[in-house]
């Protein structure tokens, strides 16, 4: 497996002017996708109504109530979760120098889901404010287990060993979740929807608990991004350039764990977003994480809005789980990456 750095250094770093040029376009697309996401649905609403509801809300107009109570929360969730998972994926790919890194593939989402399911099963906890904390503990635990298994595989924590141990841990936790599910069917009626990964019918109030943490983690991720570029050149190079790699890795792990856990708490396990988006972004901005990270966040938000629109309109009147579509799009890209990056 060639490391990401070898290929990335061959790609000439794009000129900053080009990188800036994408930002307004991306922002415009984001706003457009956001409005479209709200307008589309079982009852299509004209964009004018959407904008009216967002600017001068009138609780007496039925369509505007739909928008404010149902569609706006879902669109906001898509933006938050898409941005978080993509940024987490980008940071993971940089810090592990692993083109196949993704919070789902490396077991973090499975760990977060597992923790939430177990705590709910054994304590009957219903306090929504605690969910993100439990998810964080689970994601962190799974991340550490996956990393340590991969580390002690002969050859060390390579993209392959990380992916394999991530798949193994995910399979193990998945089986435990299924067993817990069978043992307490009543408790799990609510969790079942959550576990398929999707944005429909989510409790927007959770955003009040999770939002601040996501905001802090996103900001921290953006702030750390320049040093990730250096880290992606290899530990020794980074140390030679004066980066305290150990501390930086701990900080990045914390950011990734918080973003993943909060996303899982909000929308359940959504796979492959963190894998796909950074690779798409790299095609445009090259290998500089100062650009990859913010671009990944914006593109991820647009991507999840788009996926969720497809999920809602593909087979009316029913809805496909958003997580299914992200896997359908992401898995072929994964296959392509494996073909390209492995001997």
């Amino acid at each position: 497996m060639t490391s990401a750095t070898a290929t990335d250094t061959v790609l000439t770093a794009r000129h900053p002017v080009r990188a800036w040029s994408g930002v307004p376009v991306l922002l415009a697309v984001l706003v457009g996708a956001f409005l479209l996401h709200i307008a589309v649905g079982a009852k299509p609403l004209p964009l004018g109504t959407v904008i009216e509801a967002l600017t001068q809300f009138d609780p007496k107009v039925f369509d505007q109530v739909i928008i404010m109570n149902l569609r706006l929360p879902r669109a906001v969730l898509a933006v938050v979760v898409g941005a978080s998972l993509s940024l987490a994926g980008a940071l993971m790919q940089g810090v592990t120098r692993n083109p196949l890194a993704d919070p789902g593939l490396l077991g973090l989402t499975a760990g977060a889901s597992f923790a939430v399911v177990m705590v709910t099963a054994f304590t009957g906890m219903t306090n929504a404010a605690l969910v993100p904390w439990i998810a964080m503990v689970g994601a962190l635990g799974a991340a550490l287990v996956v990393y340590f298994i991969a580390r002690f595989v002969p050859g060390g924590a390579t993209p392959l060993s990380l992916t394999l141990s991530g798949a193994a841990i995910s399979a193990f936790l998945g089986a435990l979740i299924s067993i817990a599910h069978l043992l307490g069917e009543d408790t799990f009626e609510n969790l079942r929807v959550w576990l398929t990964g999707g944005l429909a019918g989510r409790d927007i109030n959770l955003l009040w608990y999770v939002g601040p943490w996501i905001a802090i983690a996103l900001a921290a991720g953006l702030a750390l991004a320049p040093r990730v570029t250096v880290l992606a050149m290899g530990d020794e190079v980074a140390q030679g350039l004066g980066v305290r790699t150990g501390r930086l890795k701990v900080q990045l792990l914390a950011v990734v764990v918080v973003l993943t856990a909060c996303s899982v708490a909000l929308a359940g396990p959504l796979g492959f977003i963190g894998l796909v988006i950074p690779h798409i972004v790299r095609l445009y901005v090259g290998s500089d994480y100062r650009w990859i990270v913010p671009y990944a966040a914006l593109t991820g938000a647009v991507y999840l809005l788009g996926v969720d629109i497809i999920a809602r309109i593909a087979i009316p009147p029913r809805e496909i789980s958003t997580g299914i579509i992200t896997a359908m799009v992401g898995a072929p890209l994964f296959v392509h990456l494996v073909r390209q990056r492995t001997r």
Binding site: M1, L100, L105, I149, F152, V153, P154, G155, T158, L160, S161, T163, L164, S165, A167, A168, I169, A171, F172, G174, A175, L176, S178, I179, L182, L183, T196, G271, F272, I315, R318, I320, S321, G323, I324, I325, A327, M328, G330, A331, P332, F334, V335, V338, R339, T342, R343
Partner: protein, 354 residues
């Protein structure tokens, strides 16, 4: 057949010595113990359940003595078919894993890891959800078609100009499995709810619905596939030394490898079509056989089959007895045993370093 006993080995020869079997004593002993354990598991399995039957009564019933209509019914109609199906499916999955590991020269190969089980699962779910009018006797064929398509896709995608690569093979399997599973989930979410529920029980890898019809299907396929596997076992042992060495030894490597893959896929597909995807049995059994008693390929395959049968029988027994009346599908339990073993193999493997 004449038997000549060497120290620590038993050699069986056919009349004109066209066939000779050299059996390490240890392997024979282990096999006897495994079969005894399997027999005990089956006996206990027949006796336990929501309707308890004494072990002695079970044995009498199996000998054809009717103790009561109820016991007759419970043992013969419900439990015996299920128990036999579990053992057969376990043996088939184990052999599929052994053949797959040999053909890909990858100790981590397992039908559920390289997408073969998922391919079979998608085909069967499609049949159940989208075409419910088609009889379920088509399930094995659909499963076979799905499994072989995915196996071909994984092989094709993993192939490079320098030939197949074991690492790519596994990673391709993971990627394709995710893709196929997402299609399966899509079908489950928007298919009719009762059909989806039927498919769901099957998808978890549970044996509780197995009937005598299933047992006969499994047996019929075993009667075709097992001799085929044993027939190529000699060349398979040459392949253990690597492809170049096997060609040097004059083995028809390409043909045998393709045959092996075909048999592996067929075994996994048939087993999957009856009980759903049972993960990790194909991974565990060959390694356990190797560890318990290193033996020649044919004996290794027999041991592997016995371990697989024991493993799934035990998983099925534990799954329905441990948390009764709730039944835990055997597939979940095999995953719980299999994953730690997978990790242990990963930690020891050299194959993953390059």
């Amino acid at each position: 057949m004449t038997a000549v006993t060497h120290p620590r080995q038993i050699v069986l020869r056919s009349p004109r010595e066209r066939l000779a079997l050299k059996l390490p004593l240890r392997a024979v002993l282990v096999l006897c113990l495994l079969l005894l354990a399997l027999f005990l598991t089956i006996a206990v399995s027949l006796a336990t359940g929501s309707y308890g039957v004494a072990l002695g009564d079970v044995l009498d019933t199996l000998r054809g003595i009717t103790i009561s209509r109820a016991i007759d019914n419970v043992v013969w109609e419900f439990r015996f078919a299920r128990t036999l199906a579990a053992a057969l499916v376990g043996a088939m999955m184990a052999l599929s894993g052994a053949a797959l590991q040999n053909a890909t020269r990858n100790g981590l190969a397992d039908p559920s890891l390289v997408g073969v089980s998922q391919g079979a699962a998608l085909a069967v779910v499609t049949l159940t959800v989208v075409f419910p009018d088609i009889s379920s006797s088509w399930r094995p064929w659909a499963a076979f078609a799905g499994a072989i398509l995915v196996a071909l896709a994984v092989q094709g995608l993993a192939r490079t100009r320098q030939g197949g690569s074991t690492i790519r093979f596994i990673l391709m399997g993971i990627g394709l499995s995710a893709f196929i599973s997402s299609i399966t989930s899509a079908m489950m979410t928007y298919g009719e709810i009762d059909r989806a529920m039927a498919a769901l029980a099957w998808l978890a890898g549970s044996i509780n619905a197995a009937s005598w019809g299933d047992v006969w299907t499994l047996l019929a396929w075993c009667a075709v596939l097992l001799p085929a596997l044993l027939a190529i076992s000699r060349t398979m042992s040459a392949l253990r030394f690597g492809e170049a060495a096997a060609i040097g030894l004059g083995a028809p490597v390409k043909l045998v490898r393709n045959l092996q893959l075909a048999v592996a896929v067929a075994l996994a597909a048939i087993a999957t079509s009856v009980v759903g995807p049972l993960g990790f049995v194909g991974l565990i059994a060959p390694h356990a056989a190797q560890r318990l008693a290193p033996a020649g390929m044919a004996m290794h395959l027999i041991l592997t089959a016995a371990i697989g049968a024991l493993l799934v029988s035990l998983a099925d027994l534990i799954g329905r007895a441990a948390f009764a009346p709730i039944q835990i599908p055997a597939g979940l339990l095999t995953a719980l045993i299999g994953v730690p073993l997978f990790v242990a193999l990963l930690l020891r493997s050299r194959a993953t370093t390059h």
